[in-house]
Symmetry: C2
Subunit: 416 residues, 2 copies
């Protein structure tokens, strides 16, 4: 079997104007990548019929698989289907079953069925329908001169279910060669340092492809290699991960789908322990990240958001003298926040954070981005001072993830 390649096309003025991020094509790329069909180019175009036709010509000339998203909703910037009919010189076909379903669906949700929705039961004659269980716009599969065109609505969760439920099974039959990969996640180490450290290790292998992907103050090293057997792939991925992790075990915290909230959840469950949070500048973000994980109620019961000094005193028992002498952004205050959070929640572990998120409120001694992050178990505390940047949201995120990483280390240490 030959190596198939893909091109993705997104339609939508809102994508061009920058108002909406093109997360759809990112999802499609990941899924195609997993079955060994690399996306070689992506293009984003406006709601302009001629541009859609030109893009189809351009994509069919370069790739075997073409996906087209956007332009199928009920609103009037939706022109894709009529363009497809023009492009392939076919008419529209009404699917009576779909029309019935559509009407029922609207009735069930208590919405009025309007004429602009009826067109969603019509599709170009040369298309096979790809079932979309979550919405009214079905996907389409059109075979064209030995190539495959897949067309989907732009609503992310509908696009996702059509991609994984319909498109991937169709394409999986056509491809065999695939790429395996391992994503290695690091926090608190600059990209250039990570590159310098990992290069000699990765250079030992042939045929690797390596990319450094920064996000939210963290970096992911993505290492891809040609797939062999699933067992051999697994072994190679494990080996690469462990070799890289050993370079900076405090900073390299996980791989693939392992996020810090998932990892601390796993560690806490293993120990049958719980964690509480006492947050000032992160304002509830740490608690929200922890509870993004399904099943987190097993190890998270209580969080304190103590934004004001009064609340640090009343909810956590921080002493007025401590706040007066050292300020709210200090090691002494965070230490008392940790102690108070443990005592008042009954949890086994605590995270506490106090800092200057910015963009205002900095001083000479504690400029914007100064954050004290603490973690504690019963009878043990660790507090670190960080100096982040000027962006409020990024400072919240980096503080929160740094705290989760410190908790991970504390939990792993307690384990060994």
């Amino acid at each position: 079997m030959k190596q198939l390649t893909a091109i993705t096309i997104s339609i939508g003025d809102e994508l061009l104007s920058g108002k909406t991020l093109d997360s759809n094509n990112a999802f499609i790329s990941k899924q195609l990548d997993l079955i060994g069909i690399p996306v070689i180019k992506k293009i984003i175009i406006g709601d302009v019929p001629q541009d859609i036709m030109d893009s189809l010509d351009w994509a069919f000339a370069q790739a075997d698989v073409v996906t087209l998203t956007g332009g199928l909703g009920p609103t009037h910037d939706d022109i894709t289907k009529s363009v497809l009919c023009d492009y392939f010189e076919v008419g529209l076909k009404l699917y009576p079953d779909l029309l019935e379903n559509l009407k029922e669906r609207f009735a069930r949700r208590g919405f009025k069925f309007s004429e602009s929705n009826a067109s969603q039961a019509e599709y170009p004659e040369n298309a096979s329908i790809l079932d979309n269980p979550l919405g009214t716009a079905q996907g389409m599969h059109i075979r064209h001169e030995g190539k495959h065109l897949f067309v989907m609505a732009g609503v992310p969760r509908e696009m996702e279910i059509v991609t994984t439920g319909q498109i991937i099974p169709i394409l999986s039959k056509l491809t065999q060669r695939s790429i395996s990969k391992v994503d290695i996640h690091a926090i608190g180490v600059p990209e250039s340092t990570l590159y310098e450290l990992s290069k000699p290790v990765l250079d030992e292998y042939s045929d690797l492809k390596v990319a450094y992907l920064p996000k939210q103050g963290m970096v992911t090293i993505r290492v891809s290699f040609p797939s062999n057997s699933s067992e051999a792939d697994q072994k190679l991925a494990d080996e690469i991960y462990l070799n890289i992790r050993d370079l900076k075990p405090k900073n390299i915290y996980g791989r693939d789908d392992e996020s810090l909230p998932i990892l601390i959840g796993r560690l806490l469950k293993e120990k049958q322990a719980s964690v509480t949070t006492a947050e000032s500048c992160t304002g509830g973000l740490v608690a929200s990240l922890i509870t993004d994980i399904s099943g987190s109620s097993d190890y998270f019961q209580t969080g304190f958001v103590t934004y004001a000094n009064e609340t640090k005193m009343s909810l956590l028992g921080v002493l007025e003298e401590t706040l007066f002498e050292h300020g709210a952004v200090s090691e002494a205050t965070v230490s008392e926040m940790l102690e108070g959070a443990l005592n008042r929640s009954g949890a086994d572990y605590a995270i506490a954070i106090s800092g200057v998120a910015g963009p205002t409120g900095g001083t000479e001694e504690k400029p914007v981005g100064t954050v004290y992050v603490g973690v504690a178990g019963r009878g043990h505390q660790q507090i670190k001072r960080f100096q982040f940047g000027n962006n409020r949201i990024l400072n919240k995120e980096m503080s929160a993830f740094s705290a989760l990483n410190m908790l991970r280390l504390l939990l792993e240490e307690a384990q060994s």
Copy 2:
């Protein structure tokens, strides 16, 4: 002056593989849009020299302004500069000042200066340097046959500062015609209903362009029109906004940069009042959204994350009988959470939320996505039951934003 158009090119295997979202091009598009230079196409390509050259040919053939991002960092997937030298048939030029700055910068942050970083002081001979105050990779401006190429690093905050600080001032001098727009934000009303309602209003105007942009369970209607005088634009935008808002004043909550956290902050400041939060299934997200806003300490002092029943009792004084009789996900529990949060924080207003975020934990009576959202002032409560979907993160977001919208309505009501 003629209407200029732009094409954006992003380089990076990580963008093609879907690992990273292309937020850079979205930012660039917004900025260019504001000065009346629409982006007509966007393309994303891999780290392949031939593809970069082909894209430059393709883009110069269609647009006046071309931007190229990615591929300037210190890691080895960075090939852009050498491709530019090949494309324009020029050599690299070393900037000694930049080399000095680079070395100083590394020393100051305590990192080792490595050889792979030295190349960041070299740029193609035909490029003008665009100062990047936040990083080591400078931007470039290359004039080519009457067209403009701008090249930037892929790190978002560096790309942003080079775009707004350098590129936009250069291009502003070349353009005059511009587009004005108003974004109208709605929550709790489906896109198709919003379309049906707003169409007759918007059809009264000529020359409008309308897009419906769904996000996190909310929809933004973006209305654009050719710019006239700034006063006339303002008047038209105001008029359109008010006409649309009056269709559904409870659901249409704001315009342009007005997010719900910003709006409730503004209303609370006006009343010199404060708000507290008591969160179960949202797990701190409401508090985190409120504290995303600089200056929120003026009106937010305390948040309770009461994930467990025990904590609802101990921190908020919810009665055991209430939890036993009605369950944690109930109007009765949320009512006591509101009362407890007000009493124990001393705040003037409260938000309380309890629901089944999912994907597990649903029952016949209260399926996944069932959420009770309450808001209260002194002596007044309002609690609503919502039925969201099966996605945990989306359920958290929709619950949080629905709560903020209910608080907005309560604050506006109290005002009039």
